[in-house]
């Protein structure tokens, strides 16, 4: 009664459609360039780890990963710690301009990164943060903080108000109530919000590329190096691509039980 006829076939086809391009990338990353260019093979006939070895031994490659992870982590921590109190306020109180403020926050989540690329470049150059992970982390706050507020507000609203009142009657101060009672209650919500901040900061390229040049260059920008005078180094490009999928896959595995609710932004 719940599902539809032929659901297994539909689902199988869809999952194959999702996995096939990823398989092709993985497949190519284990091939030599000679094999990629000369023949069409469905799996690597002469499997090689050479592409991965290049990435893990060349500093300009692996530092790209470290740089990316740096700003993603900074951004996630910043976004969550700023958003938590605000989410509580939006969920529990009415105050002057609350609806407009919430809408304004939301509209920033939708703002096109292309609009901000140039002004951010000027702004972060002016305050000497250009080419540091902090510049990218702060820039990504533009869309991640509103998103975190939005998600967390949904989860805080799921906590009955009586719990707050009881805690205050029991003599809890506000900060103590917040850390000791509220945060454990919405732990899954915090996890989901962190997941989304991680996700949107990890996948964004335009701002990350514009705000860095050498020292903080993210992996996605390093990947463009594979185009050289000798043509594309497809194997290396594929290997670098595979390595960018892995952190995401790991994070998904940890939050898999909350993904569905998280994607509904805590509002089901």
């Amino acid at each position: 009664m719940h599902s539809i006829p032929g659901r297994r076939i539909i689902l199988a086809l869809y999952l194959i459609f999702l996995l096939l391009p990823i398989y092709w990338l993985v497949n190519m990353s284990f091939k030599t360039n000679a094999e990629i260019v000369s023949t069409m093979t469905l799996w690597p006939h002469q499997p090689t780890l050479e592409n991965y070895r290049t990435i893990f031994t060349d500093e300009s490659w692996y530092s790209g990963y470290i740089n990316s992870l740096k700003y993603v982590v900074i951004n996630t921590v910043l976004s969550i710690s700023f958003a938590l109190p605000a989410a509580y306020a939006f969920s529990r109180y009415r105050f002057l301009g609350d609806k407009h403020l919430f809408f304004w926050l939301l509209s920033n989540r939708m703002a096109p990164a292309a609009v901000y690329a140039l002004p951010f470049f000027n702004l972060y150059s002016a305050i000497n943060l250009f080419d540091t992970p902090w510049a990218v982390a702060l820039a990504h706050c533009l869309f991640n903080v509103p998103l975190a507020v939005w998600i967390l507000e949904g989860f805080v609203s799921g906590v009955p108000k009586e719990i707050d009142e009881t805690a205050f009657l029991d003599g809890y101060s506000f900060p103590k109530f917040f850390v000791k009672i509220l945060m454990p209650l919405i732990a899954s919500g915090i996890g989901v919000a962190a997941f989304f901040c991680f996700m949107f900061s990890w996948v964004e390229l335009l701002l990350a590329r514009t705000l860095t040049s050498v020292n903080a260059k993210p992996i996605s920008a390093v990947m463009t190096r594979t185009v050289s005078a000798a043509g594309m180094d497809w194997g290396l490009l594929a290997a670098a691509g595979v390595l960018t999928i892995i952190p995401g896959a790991l994070v998904i595995w940890f939050v898999r039980n909350y993904i569905a609710r998280g994607f509904a932004l805590g509002r089901v």
Binding site: M1, H2, S3, R7, I10, L11, Y14, L15, L18, P21, I22, W24, L25, M28, I36, M40, L42, F82, A89, F90, R92, Y93, R94, F95, L96, D98, F103, S107, N108, M110, A111, P112, A113, A114, V115, Y116, A117, L118, L138, C141, L142, S157, V203, E204, L205, S220, W234, L237, G241, G248, A249, V251, I252, R256, I259, A260, R261, A264, R267, V268
Partner: protein
């Protein structure tokens, strides 16, 4: 939930306000500043009033022509992917298993494309679609279909659309799945007793329950497709010709490629205004839908 009026709540919101204002209002002021000035280089600016806006909104000028062309392409793109992704996402959500270990497996596989950096998404499809080394391009050409996304505008569009469907349909599906999961079994049992058809169950129970999440899905998908940049840029570079140059790609070309600050700023402001208006419409519809539900808890 009834909320109490408390102006002190502003203190809790202040940090968020400060950090978003820093990232949003300051740069926007720069943009407004650029949009009304012109320069001959050397950091010397002079007042140009609404000149750039006039040029931008005049389809007979070069800038206006480029703007309207990319806007039309972008709207067509958003319409196409919404028309594909929303129904497909609903179907996939309905096809999801409800219990057992397969649920976690499906969820993880479906979420995978969402966590791939956008330029890597572009790279994946760039490789996958190439006629010489990509499985898709090779097979299509093997089947006798002349497919080449680099030289043929239709193929380029098809590739970008399929890529977006691959990338984002799971978001719609996961949202719908979350909505479906919140339906108590009792509803289905009641439907069974009434002898309701499969279609009736869908229109009377499942669709109303998915209403809110679907609104979020359409909003997110519209916005993200309206400001799409990285994926088509990596695959087609906006070409062949200008056939896949969307608004963001055009904007970055003008701003960072030609360094035409005034034109880029005027375009940015109009672009942002469109987004804010659409966002406001959705937000109003969403809050009204929420208010209706709160007022008649029985009907939801």
């Amino acid at each position: 939930m009834d909320k109490t009026v408390n102006q002190k709540a502003w203190f809790l919101v202040l940090p968020v306000f400060a950090i978003v204002a820093f990232s949003a209002i300051l740069p926007l002021m720069t943009v407004v500043n650029y949009s009304v000035q012109d320069t001959f280089g050397n950091n010397q600016f002079f007042w140009n009033g609404v000149g750039w806006f006039k040029e931008l909104l005049d389809p007979s000028s070069d800038l206006g022509e480029r703007f309207f062309a990319s806007l039309a392409r972008n709207l067509a793109f958003s319409a196409i992917i919404l028309a594909i992704e929303v129904p497909l996402g609903i179907v996939v959500a309905l096809a999801m298993p409800r219990h057992g270990w397969t649920v976690a497996l499906c969820l993880v596989i479906m979420a995978l494309p969402l966590l791939i950096p956008w330029n890597v998404v572009g790279t994946i499809w760039q490789i996958f679609g190439r006629p010489d080394i990509g499985l898709l391009g090779y097979s299509l050409n093997g089947l006798g279909i002349d497919y080449n996304y680099v030289s043929n505008a239709f193929d380029a569009w098809a590739t970008v659309v399929v890529m977006d469907v691959w990338h984002w349909t799971s978001l719609v599906a996961l949202l719908c799945y979350a909505g479906l999961k919140s339906i108590p079994d009792a509803y289905y049992q009641a439907a069974q007793i009434d002898g309701a058809s499969r279609w009736a169950v869908f229109t009377a129970i499942q669709l109303p329950k998915m209403h809110r999440v679907l609104l979020i899905a359409v909003l997110l998908r519209f916005m993200d497709s309206f400001m799409i940049y990285t994926e088509p840029f990596v695959v087609t570079g906006g070409g062949p010709g200008n056939s896949t140059t969307f608004v963001s790609i055009e904007l970055v070309k003008i701003a960072l490629g030609q360094f035409d600050l005034g034109k880029a700023a005027a375009l940015s402001i109009v672009y942002n205004l469109i987004i804010i208006i659409v966002c406001w419409v959705f937000y109003t519809v969403m809050t009204h839908a929420g208010a209706d539900r709160d007022n008649n808890p029985g009907s939801a």
